[in-house]
């Protein structure tokens, strides 16, 4: 069998080029944090209007 290839490690080192973000991990954490915030806001919205 062919072993699973590993993701290109250089791609992980490549900076995202977004001001304030030095690594892709930072971008992913931001997106995850945004998702959590959206769910919290929707929960609050539900509480206010239901």
């Amino acid at each position: 069998m062919t072993p699973a290839p590993r993701p290109d490690e250089r791609s992980e080192a490549e900076p995202p080029g977004i001001p304030g973000f030095g690594t892709w991990r930072g971008v992913y954490l931001f997106v995850f944090g945004w998702f959590v915030l959206v769910v919290i806001l929707l929960t609050v919205f539900t509480r206010i209007f239901s």
């Binding site: 069998m1 290839p5 993701p7 971008v27 919205f45 539900t46 209007f49």
Partner: protein, 568 residues
């Protein structure tokens, strides 16, 4: 529709298609045709990913869903941002590193050809069937409401999309997506603004939201653990995660949108753009539906929104009686809402509670009469179409928007239909060419010009198939659900194949192949014998494929392992 509407509609839809064909008429490179231009930026990729997912059904059915059932459907998208993070971190770098045209090529390199053909076959089966629905769904609604011949709408949209997709391939698809998304955004903003302006004086957004909330339309999140509930936070996060991971990570219509581009960064940022915007966008579309519900509490709505179907069957006095009863119930409901708004402003808790109960009861009575109207339609003709929520938004567009804006909103529906259709055709043509045709004609792989001709022919053939399927097949009424159910049946196993490929390095081709076939059969049997929310089938199919792969790998005879070792 008047002349201004026609000018806006044809100007945008035909104009964008002609622009896409003209700009990409000189595409000669197979890579550009199948993966798009190498200079494509993240904005174009992001819009293209979004346009592929947002079909016309999104803009016709989802406001209707908000109108009928409230905004809880937004939870369906909770798994999407999480899935896109995984796709960015794991799937995309691998596809780019291996320089593949299709996601299934990767499986051929990792396992063997039979596993690649199985995955590509599952994709063609699922997407090929869905492709007829994507063209038929908006056509049936638009043709019914506007009185245009259904066949003409199907053939017109089908031919338009075939022309520019066959001409410019993936590059034309991405180019037209950008402008189609601009039309869609402008149209939806226009509709929301007009809706807010048409609400009764003094009600405003907050008042309308309060009414919608009190009548149960604004429950965005539901933390219930009841597995029979279709949309909860848990089905959204877990089922939705697996559905989105399968769709964005393994469905060629999406993979093709982001594997091109100038660099890995562009694809990643395009996907993150969707991860951030998708839930808010769906929320706004659903909210539009909930606000339409409030609007129709004050502007007398028809008892049944598909008026063409209603007039076809509602011939006798029984239907006139239902209409009169409905008009009376709507008037009472309107009075009850006004009484509740006054009670709410008075700060008298007991009065407010009593007025709220009266308002809910009046609204329930209106719902009961609508249900009675649907039952009367079925009694008159068992084949009558009783789902009218898809007609709510288009009815609002045609009766409330000014001329010009009507043309723009009809253009939104066509733009959405063309954008998702184009991605599907390009993906079906590419997969058929790369994973099947080249597999059986290995010597032709080096002939780029021949590959281009074949890819164009297969794309055109899939387009003709989609049009023919839409013209001659009979479809279920609830089309958006039909597409999601179809996806959920096949996507889980497809995702399982990819997760084994990425994360279980010891599992080989034979184990994963037989595991996938068994898991797919299991999901189909469960679908026909159990009553659980369909999003769970994504999780079940994926888990079964992974577990069976590991188990089979442990018991497969050493000879099979040796064969795989040689093949690898």
């Amino acid at each position: 529709m008047n002349v201004a509407d026609w000018v806006v509609l044809l100007g945008t839809i035909v104009g964008i298609a002609a622009y896409g064909s003209w700009r990409t008429r000189h595409v000669r490179s197979l890579s550009t045709y199948l993966r798009g231009n190498t200079s494509t930026g993240w904005g174009t990729i992001g819009l293209s990913v979004m346009a592929t997912q947002a079909s016309a059904i999104t803009f016709l059915s989802i406001p209707g869903q908000g109108f009928e059932s409230g905004i809880g459907f937004v939870q369906n998208y909770f798994g999407l941002p999480l899935a896109l993070i995984v796709v960015c971190a794991v799937f995309l770098p691998m596809y780019r590193r291996l320089n593949v045209y299709t996601a299934y090529e990767f499986l051929g390199q990792r396992f063997d050809e039979k596993t690649r053909l199985l995955a590509a076959g599952l994709f063609l089966l699922q997407r090929g069937l869905a492709t007829g629905v994507t063209i038929y769904a908006p056509a049936i609604i638009i043709s019914t409401v506007l009185g245009w011949p259904l066949d003409l709408v199907i053939v017109f949209t089908g031919l338009l999309v075939i022309v520019y997709t066959v001409t410019g391939g993936s590059e034309a698809v991405a180019l037209t997506h950008k402008w189609q998304m601009a039309v869609i955004s402008a149209g939806m903003v226009t509709a929301m603004v007009v809706l807010l302006l048409r609400l009764p004086d003094g009600l405003g957004f907050t008042g309308a939201a309060s009414v919608a909330g009190a009548l149960g339309k604004l429950q965005a999140v539901d933390f219930s653990l009841d597995p029979s509930r279709r949309y909860t936070v848990w089905t959204g996060v877990f089922g939705g995660l697996f559905l989105s991971l399968s769709y964005f990570g393994t469905d060629q219509s999406q993979v093709q949108r982001y594997i091109g581009g100038a660099a890995l960064r562009e694809g990643r940022l395009g996907l993150m753009f969707n991860a951030v915007l998708k839930i808010p966008m769906q929320f706004v579309i659903l909210l539009l539906g909930a606000l339409l519900f409030v609007f129709y509490q004050f502007a007398p709505p028809p008892v049944f929104f598909n008026q063409v179907e209603w007039r076809r069957h509602a011939q006798d006095g029984r239907f006139r009686a239902i209409e009169a009863e409905h008009a009376s119930a709507v008037a009472q409901s309107q009075s009850a809402i006004r009484a509740w708004l006054q009670a709410r402003a008075s700060d008298d808790t007991a009065r407010e509670a009593s007025a709220r109960a009266a308002m809910v009861a009046a609204s329930s009575r209106t719902d009961a009469i609508r249900a009675e109207a649907k039952a009367a339609l079925v009694a008159a003709d068992p084949r009558a179409k009783t789902k009218d929520s898809d007609y709510v938004f288009i009815t609002f567009i045609l009766t409330q928007l000014p001329h010009g804006a009507v043309g723009l909103l009809v253009a939104v529906m066509f733009a959405a239909a063309l954008s998702s259709k184009a991605s599907e055709l390009a993906a079906l043509g590419t997969t058929t060419t790369i994973d099947f045709w080249r597999h059986f004609r290995p010597l032709a792989a080096a002939d780029e010009a021949r590959n281009m001709r074949v890819a164009r022919r297969f794309t055109a053939l899939w387009g003709v198939f989609a049009v023919a399927f839409a013209l001659f097949a009979g479809f279920a009424e609830n089309l958006i659900e039909a597409i999601n159910i179809l996806g959920s049946i096949f996507y889980g196993v497809l995702l399982g194949l990819f997760l084994v490929a990425f994360f279980l390095r010891r599992v080989g081709g034979s184990a994963v192949f037989f595991a996938a076939v068994t898991a797919q059969a299991l999901v189909i049997v469960m679908y026909f014998s159990l009553n659980i929310g369909y999003l769970w089938y994504n999780l079940i199919g994926c888990a079964a494929c992974i577990a069976l792969s590991v188990a089979l790998q442990a018991v497969l005879p050493p000879r099979a392992l040796d064969d795989e070792g040689r093949a690898g």
